[in-house]
Symmetry: none
Subunit: 316 residues, 2 copies
DNA sequence: AGTGTTTGTCTAATACCTGTCTAAGAATCT
DNA sequence: AGATTCTTAGACAGGTATTAGACAAACACT
């Protein structure tokens, strides 16, 4: 934390704390009187002054009481204990407790899944587009698109989602990602990236997300879609004078062929063109892929920071 | 800042400061007397002369007190502390609002302006759409759309931008905002807002931004465009069973008519429907508008936090 | 069911904070 | 010169705090 000590100075009056915590002034005083839940300092006149920390504590307390905890039990606990409790509660709710799931992103993900379950493709699309525009591309990809795809995938694996539903949802996500890619059609000079999926790999969502990420970073992206033979990939990269080539790998099955394809691609590309490999199965083939001259990227986040370092054009 | 020192010279009399801050002269004097909130220099005759800095300080103080801070506590704080407090408040309000005045927002603004100067409407539109999708709606409105509109306005005022260029840019911004509004077409139940501009007020950009802001917050927005007579506004609000009505006011000229229109609107609306007034000229008519039963909102940010508090549906 | 605890809400009396107003005089403007 | 705006100092009222205590709904446990 880079906060100077002034951050801790108590200076928030009751009404503001009430607004920021969602607790009425009455409740704030009752909690303090009965459980010494916080002990704000006072003005000379005796009015309460809460600190930033008090507010954080109170907000957590409210969320926990909302979830059913008794304030009387919660009150004596130190802050880190509250944090632990809340994390536990969230984890219990959430399947895979992603990063700090915001209200609104949670809502978007759940709405999309609900709509998918009732085959309402239009609604899925609306929800996703809205989320994309509201959150901005990077946050959308990390916090909405990825979880939606993952949860649909899980549901399909465990049978709670039918193949048809999975296909529909996938088609919609693909459409939305395609739309985003279109928004970023670049006119001027920029770094160029070619994105595809190696032969036999038919899941293109990962590749599309990579493409959109790069486009959002200002790259000129040539998206070639799934299942592309190395020779054609190399040809496209040469023709577009690409600065980098990205491949998405979802299945580890058929690894030998895959590695061979990587090797062939690497061999066909100029030395200074980076070859990036990502996707669900990328970790399983990491060593072999790196031996074949590819860079393995685990997450979209990693991809973004890598691509930023790569950018010679320094496009803003 | 490129302002020469003359900008710091105190030269603003009370009346003007009152208009620019939305504080009555009485309040200005009371704050000074009781808390030495600022210490304006005086004319030989003893009348107050405020500096640009004083005004900034006062505006911040007003916004913070509006949010619930106590003026008595705020008064002794230095300016940077006020800025910090305001940022903290914004951060607490805004969920994903990354207000990092990024390289990329600057770049978007500059590109849009350059494109406007060379009459490249398509490019302006592309840049704006891309920025909207990249940053998310709230950040886009605050950091791109608003600056672009302001700078075009300034340019027009000082002659560096032609009327034609101004018109073109305005048309494009309007188109993009309209597109965003379309993205947010809401299906389910939601809070309803009616947005328009009072008679004689032909600049609709502010109204559109308000509309988009509300839509992004999950409201169902009925956008009625500029120059709407009170009777029709009231009719629309009733038919849509709106929870709130927002008006944007850019010129202070014709204030009496404007206030009359506000009064009429207020009279026609049910008690529990909020009447909000914002826009460049809103501070100048603050007192009269409030007397007419309207709530004055200074910034888009303020509008967002207000609307969130208003939302009875608590739509996420 | 009965009993006791927990907890949010409310009241009443009091005190503080803060916006508004008054009155009389001085400065400024036209 | 007269109208207007600004000045100071003080008064005032209403909103917002404060306390202590009462009450009832919700819950847990016989």
């Amino acid at each position: 934390m880079n906060e100077p000590s002034c951050f801790r100075l108590p200076r928030y009056p009751v009404r503001l704390v009430s607004l920021r915590t969602g607790l009425t002034p009455h409740v704030l005083r009752a909690w303090e009187r009965r459980y010494q839940v916080v002990t704000p300092t006072r003005t000379e006149g005796g009015q309460r002054l809460y600190s930033e920390l008090d507010i954080e504590r109170l907000r957590r307390l409210r969320r926990l009481t909302d979830r059913g905890h008794a304030i009387g039990r919660l009150a004596p606990l130190p802050l880190d204990e509250l944090i632990r409790l809340e994390d536990a509660a969230v984890e219990a709710d959430e399947r895979p407790g992603e990063l700090a799931h915001d209200e609104s992103t949670r809502f978007a993900v759940e709405s999309a899944l609900r709509a998918a379950r009732r085959f309402d493709a239009a609604e899925v699309q609306t929800v996703l587009e809205r989320a994309a525009v509201t959150l901005g591309v990077p946050a959308f990809l990390d916090q909405v698109a990825t979880p939606v795809v993952e949860r649909i995938g899980h549901g399909w694996a465990e049978g709670s989602v039918s193949i048809a539903q999975e296909h529909m949802a996938t088609a919609v996500v693909r459409r939305v990602l395609g739309w985003l890619l279109g928004v970023y059609e670049v006119s001027g000079p920029a770094d160029r990236l070619v994105v595809a999926t190696p032969p036999r790999q038919v899941h293109e969502l990962g590749a599309l997300m990579v493409a959109v990420s790069a486009a959002a970073e200002g790259w000129k992206v040539t998206y070639l879609g799934p299942d592309l033979p190395p020779a054609d990939l190399v040809g496209a990269a040469r023709q577009t004078e690409a600065n980098a080539v990205a491949l998405s790998v979802v299945y580890a099955a058929g690894t030998p062929d895959l590695i061979a394809a990587l090797r062939e691609t690497r061999a066909g590309l100029p030395r200074d063109v980076a070859l990036l490999v990502g996707g669900a199965a990328s970790l399983q083939i990491k060593q072999q892929a790196e031996a074949a001259g590819a860079q393995v990227v685990d997450t979209l986040l990693e991809f973004r920071s890598l691509i930023r370092r790569l950018a010679p054009e320094k496009a803003p």
